[in-house]
Amino acid sequence: MKKQEKIRYQQLEVGYELPGVRFTIDQVMFDCYLTAVQEPNGLFRNNRLVPPMAVATYAMATIADGVSLPPGTIYTHGDVEFLSVVNVGDTISCQGRVSQKQVRGTFHLITVEFSVFNQGRKQVLTGKTSFILPELDNES
């Protein structure tokens, strides 16, 4: 995945569009994911179909790649909708947008909406995730 300049999470505001990222899901990524999640369903390997949660995971990684998230970040909520199948070799584009931000004491609660498109510009996945980020002493 392409490296990009990270924004500090304290700078995120509602409406902020995270930098879009485009990459191809290759066989190595596919194999690595199936092994990591102990995927037993032949549907994926036999048809070279990428599990939808793998696509969601890559989208989240894209989001994380654009923001300087502190160690200790914890996901609290996830909402995903799978719209179309993704095959190994597909090139997908991920876009994310901050839809909610709250500061509670020393914690930030951020919600990001994201969309994933394939090389034909067809939307393959949409979702929303919320996470809690601890405020680090040396970052304030």
């Binding site: 092994t35 102990q38 995971t57 994380a64």
Partner: protein, 136 residues
């Protein structure tokens, strides 16, 4: 699962997964999420987590596996998950992922199945709770 089998209250076949640090580390590699709470025991302890925890998205992948096993390709196009991460899953935990159909919305063109889903550990603590929808 056959269309004729679908009814309100139907329990989906459960799946079980044992969490190991090796799986967590493999998932960190696959997802490029190396947050130290997942891979650094000392850091996780200092962060009051009593040790490393599995990625929430790894556990959510197991929920998706249960849905894919039950509904096949229908799950891949039109499947929806809406969940809350309630407690962390830790190395050594045995997770049971379960689901039950709580509603079926049927019209001339499609049948929408609404399910309650849950992932619990061996102490019956909820790790993930939420809903899943699938169109068949």
């Amino acid at each position: 699962m056959q269309l004729s089998e679908l009814r309100k209250g139907k329990v989906l076949p459960e799946i079980e997964r044992v969490i190991t640090q090796e799986n967590i580390s493999l998932y960190a590699e696959a997802s490029k999420d190396f947050n130290p709470i997942h891979v650094d025991e000392d850091f996780a302890r200092k962060a009051s987590l009593k040790g490393t925890v599995a990625h929430g998205m790894l556990v959510l992948a197991y929920v998706s596996q249960m849905m894919a096993a039950a509904f096949g390709q229908s799950w891949l196009v039109g499947g929806q998950l809406d969940v809350r991460f309630k407690n962390p899953a830790r190395p050594g935990d045995t997770l049971t992922i379960s689901g039950k159909i709580h509603d079926i919305d049927k019209n001339e063109v499609r049948t929408l199945i609404n399910c309650d889903v849950r992932c619990r550990n061996q102490r019956d603590e909820s790790i993930i709770i939420g809903t899943a929808k699938v169109m068949v």
